[in-house]
């Protein structure tokens, strides 16, 4: 791919040279034809556009990696439509073979373009500027003037002046050739090579890194081992032993909200106070984890990505034994009020197993129609409204169940004990009828969800991206330009005629170069000669 418009610098395999399909030739000719087509500018352009087009469905359809819930919803609502979408990988666009095909071809095309261009570039670097064309007056920019010093002196002076302007200069009998702006091509190559490096870095990150999610309740801890994750997605080359052995404890989560006005309830700040051990032997250190301020331990980053409530309960069963004690993780229905659903399964309760379905409201208010709602996400007046069921929880069936929710089918088979009780405040208890025990609402804790990610290629990716920008700026702003000067004795003798011609080979650069050219002509000694803009 090139931004210059230079025929001479073009490798043979260019789009603009007519390519004929090899008729009836051998495999080799076909391969060559394929390679030439692939590495041509036009193909690269088309692939580039296809790359962009190909990512469009990724923004329209929910993606498994980003919103698995929405994908599941489509499968539930319209299975055959979903199956069709899935057949074309439209829920995993960025992992799809057809998407991979596009970018692999694009990068092959890039490589095929960069290699020959690098060769041309290196040769050009060593080459002298080409000799002056015979007729400088035919160049887009030209000027001529007379000088009263001899030809040789003028030549030497011109060459020196151009060198002083950081032109690369070659001289010959009666002419000086100068060229400047090689950095443009340097930038162009840097840009394209950086893009390749970026792809490699992204690939390496996916191969050598991992990410995982975990939910931690206040007071609990996390140690970075595969088993501790709720969800763990390793790269192909990651072994379970290689995880950075840090651990931490969530001491406290503090969330502040806007208390009044139109934005009441909007979060202002999250602060998760962690006590971190960088390794099992390391001393503990405090870390205030915030959004935008991840915890870093030797390249492994821990991010705060979600929060919610975990009220604590004690369940005493019909025999008078404590069958459950501790926090239960509740799923918020809406984050604007944090009204939440909690599920407690007590398989150890005797005589019957117990299931509790609890609605937790952090700031409780009774509406006029009697319905209880939460009016604020902070825990100002927390209550828990308990519904209780007795019977077989069906946990032994071997079928995996959500720990956060009841299976409604199972629930239907259980015996309802309490369906509409007054909400409990902290410290209050609810007697379960039929001698099934007692539930006590003991307090309110909070949970956070964390994303833990390790990507060793983050920095290389950043460097590659930076290289691409620098290259781009050079490629777009620098002009490649040539100046030729012919000096000859004037027809009558006695003085020297100096002819100057200028040419820029960069798209859109003419206007700027005209100024610079006029400036050069003046510096070379013209006193009155007007610049002739032959364009």
């Amino acid at each position: 791919m090139k931004a210059t418009d230079d025929t001479k610098a073009r490798p043979a395999a260019d789009a603009d040279t007519p390519r004929r399909r090899p008729a009836g030739l051998g495999v080799q000719a076909w391969l060559r034809w394929f390679w030439r087509t692939l590495t041509s500018m036009r193909t690269a352009l088309i692939l580039l556009l296809l790359f962009a087009l190909g990512s469009v469905p990724g923004s329209i359809f929910p993606q498994r990696g980003v919103e698995p819930g929405k994908v599941a919803e489509i499968f539930k609502n319209d299975p055959s439509y979903a199956a069709w979408l899935d057949r074309f990988w439209l829920f995993d666009v960025f992992q799809a073979p057809w998407f991979a095909a596009i970018y692999l071809l694009l990068f092959l095309s890039l490589i095929g373009c960069v290699i020959p261009r690098t060769g041309v570039y290196l040769r050009e670097l060593r080459r002298k500027p080409p000799a002056a064309p015979r007729n400088l007056a035919r160049l887009p920019l030209n000027a001529s003037f007379e000088d009263d010093t001899p030809v040789e002196a003028v030549s030497a002076k011109v060459a020196a002046k151009l060198r002083a302007r950081r032109f690369r200069v070659a001289t010959g009998p009666g002419w000086v050739a100068a060229e400047k702006g090689y950095l443009k091509e340097t930038g162009n190559l840097l840009f394209h090579v950086s893009l390749l490096a970026l792809l490699v870095a992204v690939g390496a990150g996916a191969l050598l890194g991992y990410r995982g999610n975990v939910l931690v309740v206040e007071g609990n801890g996390f140690a970075n081992t595969v088993a501790a994750y709720d969800r763990y997605i390793p790269g192909f080359q990651v072994s379970a032993e290689s995880l950075e052995p840090f651990s931490f404890q969530l001491e406290d989560l503090q969330v502040s909200y806007v208390a009044t006005g139109g934005k009441r309830g909007q979060v202002l700040d999250f602060l998760a106070k962690l006590k971190v051990h960088d390794s099992p032997e390391a001393p503990a250190r405090d870390y205030p984890l915030r959004v935008n301020e991840p915890l870093e331990v030797n390249g492994t980053q821990t991010y705060l990505i979600g929060n919610g409530y975990a009220p604590t309960f004690t369940v005493v069963d019909g025999n008078g034994d404590v069958a459950f004690e501790g926090p239960v993780t509740c799923l918020p229905e809406t984050v604007s009020t944090f009204a939440s659903e909690c599920t407690i399964k007590v398989p150890d309760a005797k005589p019957k197993q117990l299931g509790l379905s609890i609605r937790f409201l952090p700031t409780t208010m009774r509406r006029q129609d009697g319905v209880l709602v939460s009016t604020f996400p902070g825990a100002l007046l927390p209550t828990a409204q308990v519904r209780a069921f007795a019977g077989d929880l069906g946990l032994r069936s071997g079928i995996p169940q959500s720990v956060y929710l009841f299976d409604p089918e199972k629930l239907k088979k259980m015996e309802p004990l309490v369906m509409a009780a007054d909400p409990l405040e902290v410290g209050q208890s609810l007697e379960l009828p039929g001698g099934n025990g007692k539930v006590t609402f003991t307090g309110v804790k909070e949970w956070i969800t964390l994303q833990i990610a390790y990507d060793p290629a983050r920095l290389p990716a950043l460097l590659a991206a930076g290289g691409a920008v620098i290259g781009l700026v050079f490629a777009l702003t620098i002009r490649r330009r040539r100046v030729w000067v012919r000096v000859a004795e004037a027809a009558g003798g006695g003085s020297t005629v100096v002819e100057v011609g200028g040419l820029t080979r960069t798209e859109g650069g003419d206007a700027g170069f005209a100024e610079e050219f006029a400036d050069i002509v003046k510096a070379l000694g013209a006193t009155s000669a007007g610049v002739n803009d032959a364009r």
Partner: protein, 316 residues
């Protein structure tokens, strides 16, 4: 943590936004009068569309600037001058409304769609006014005014939200880097997009608008400056995403469309550099890219959602 909102400043900001829209509308009328009744600038200077082709380099000729007025400037000329002054006034009001909003809430004043669109209109107007200082592009004023007026009118009518604090994810110095870059690049792309659209509407015949060559040059120049800034905005976004979301690239809808826009503009720059895609074809690619840009700035927030939580669009 800025919780207090200075309501006095916030109200002033809301008033300044109205003043800005009004001034832009008046400026638009002035430019339109000049365009409609002024001398046909390009027809007097119509030649100069030759191509000089030397040594493989193809140089597109400069259209010489319209010659100095033979007679004293007529009233349409003066209307244009007045329009320019009104634009500068509107620009100052626009700047004022952004500053007062920022001061009122004590943060970067691009925390939601409303603020973002107002800032973009400001960037587009700035790009035009600066370009107009160096190049004879006053004719663009009418069209840039239309674009900014529509944008800001839409923002005031449909996107306005009370000044207030932002969610924690947006409370980062990255707002100043990433979003500012996106705004500046967008302003330049709007300027380029306006020229490109004019190019398509303008025939080859001489007329009041400058030649197509001139229009294409403006579009190209704006894009060349905007593109690296856009690239930087995307990369800064990735660095922020690495800090905020735990990955630097995750194909969130905004990321997808930033990428698509980037590719489309890259394709335009490449297309122009190779023979065969010059002129109309290249301009069409540029306008497609511009469409992607607009969709990313507005459509993605409204239709696609995703992690970019600033789509703080008022309900209803």
């Amino acid at each position: 943590m800025p919780v207090e909102v200075d309501t006095g400043l916030a109200t002033l900001s809301d008033q300044l936004v109205l003043a800005t829209v009004l001034l832009y509308v008046f400026a638009m009328v002035g430019y339109a009068l000049e365009l409609g009744f002024g001398r046909a600038a390009a027809s007097t200077a119509a030649p100069a569309r030759e191509l000089a082709s030397v040594g493989g380099g193809t140089a597109v000729a400069d259209a010489p600037p319209p010659g100095p007025a033979a007679a004293a400037p007529g009233w349409p000329d003066r209307a244009g001058t007045v329009a320019l002054w009104l634009s500068w006034l509107g620009w100052a009001a626009n700047l004022g409304c952004i500053l007062t909003r920022g001061l009122a809430v004590g943060r970067w004043p691009w925390g939601n769609m409303y603020e973002f669109v107002v800032a973009m209109a400001f960037a587009a107007m700035t790009a035009f006014l600066l370009m107009q200082l160096r190049y004879p592009v006053r004719f663009l004023g009418a069209f840039v005014s239309v674009a900014t007026t529509l944008g800001m009118g839409f923002a005031v009518r449909y996107l306005h939200v009370q000044a207030g604090p932002v969610v924690p994810a947006l409370n980062s110095y990255w707002v100043g880097i990433h979003v500012s870059a996106a705004i500046i690049a967008s302003g330049l792309f709007i300027l380029g997009g306006v020229s490109g659209i004019l190019y398509l509407f303008r025939g080859e015949r001489p007329g009041r608008l400058p030649s197509r060559v001139e229009l294409e040059r403006i579009a190209h120049r704006a894009t060349v400056i905007g593109f690296p800034i856009w690239t930087f905005a995307v990369i800064a976004g990735a660095m922020w995403a690495d800090k905020a979301w735990g990955r630097y690239w995750g194909w969130d809808p905004k990321e997808v469309w930033a990428f698509i826009t980037w590719i489309a503009y890259a394709a335009y720059l490449h297309a122009r550099a190779t023979a065969g895609w010059r002129g109309r074809a290249a301009v069409i690619v540029q306008i497609v890219a511009f469409g992607c840009l607009l969709f990313n700035l507005i459509g993605v927030n409204m239709f696609l959602g995703g992690l970019h939580s600033y789509a703080d669009v008022p309900p209803g």
